[in-house]
Amino acid sequence: MAFTTAKSAYLKGLADGSPFILVIIPFSLLFGLVAVEAGLSVFETLAFSVVVIAGAAQFTALQLMQENAPTVVILASALAVNLRMAMYSASLTPYIGSAKLWQRALMAYVTVDQSYIVSIAKFEKEPQMTVPQRVAYFFGAVTPVVPLWYAFTLVGALLGAQVPDSWALDFAIPITFLAMIAPMFRTLAHVVAALVAVVVALLAAGVPYSLGLIIAGIAGMMAGARTELWLTQREGAKP
């Protein structure tokens, strides 16, 4: 589908981002509940979500605070969990690098797994999109995610009771990510990248400060890039 205006790109982003509402609500509720349970005030809990806006890193920090880990260790660990955001930033740069600085800054603030993955899939599939359309699409995709992240952190903090383990909310994120990854296996190189990343992630699960994730991510990216080169060369060698 070709876009005619930035507005239609925004609306398409909004539609493509809306399935995440189902995941963001339970996940942010859970953060609110767990934070208040850990002794944070309602205001502190909400501030945490608004300032940091990174679910997995927030949970990591909260857990380490409860274990009385040194402040430097808490910051390093939680930022390591968020290191993938630097990879996302690099991967978005060819598509939105020429957008206005304030737009890039605002997009950086709302770069989360959901907005990144929906947008990058779209940008790759439709390279003819203009930069303003890409920016509009990105903000569309993030609109159903970020306000709900704040709102339901607050609701969770106000409810302030513990969620029963039987709700299995821990698995909301893995399910979303798997659902988002599946349509991205477009070439053999994508499949190889994912398989290598998974194997390395499992082998490196014991590496401290969540750095196993980064090692696995880089290994997967290298495997994907090598496969792509190999496929192109083989294609070129054909008569």
Binding site: A90, P94, H190, V198, E228
Partner: protein, 108 residues
């Protein structure tokens, strides 16, 4: 109890650090050209990082203390399969959630 000063140092430090990580390339590189080899690697960011993030949570979920859990594992397989077959994120998520709760109910 968590010390208030420590908490605010962490909130603000994590906020600044996370923003920097998200802005480092889009902000500092901007529209300068990046080398081909780097772009070739960046094409596989999402498809490498997300499976790496999910794989340990599927095999060793923290909710079960790290023990493999048939309900979570089947939910993962169903989500991925439905996603591959339909290319529909919402359908895959719903199928995965239904499998998770169905299996948890049956295994309880």
């Amino acid at each position: 109890m968590i010390d208030t000063t420590t908490l605010w140092i962490i909130i603000i430090g994590l906020g600044l650090g996370s923003f920097f990580l998200r802005f480092v390339f889009t902000g500092l590189v901007g529209d300068r050209a990046m080398p081909d080899w780097l772009l070739r690697h960046l094409r596989y960011t999402a498809v490498a990082v997300l499976p790496a993030l999910v794989a340990p949570q599927v095999l060793w979920p923290s909710a079960t203390g790290g023990d493999p859990d048939p309900a979570r594992m089947s939910a993962a397989v169903v989500t991925l399969t439905v996603g591959l077959l339909t290319k529909n994120v919402l359908a895959a998520m719903l199928a995965g959630a239904a499998t998770l709760y169905g299996m948890l109910y049956l295994l309880a």
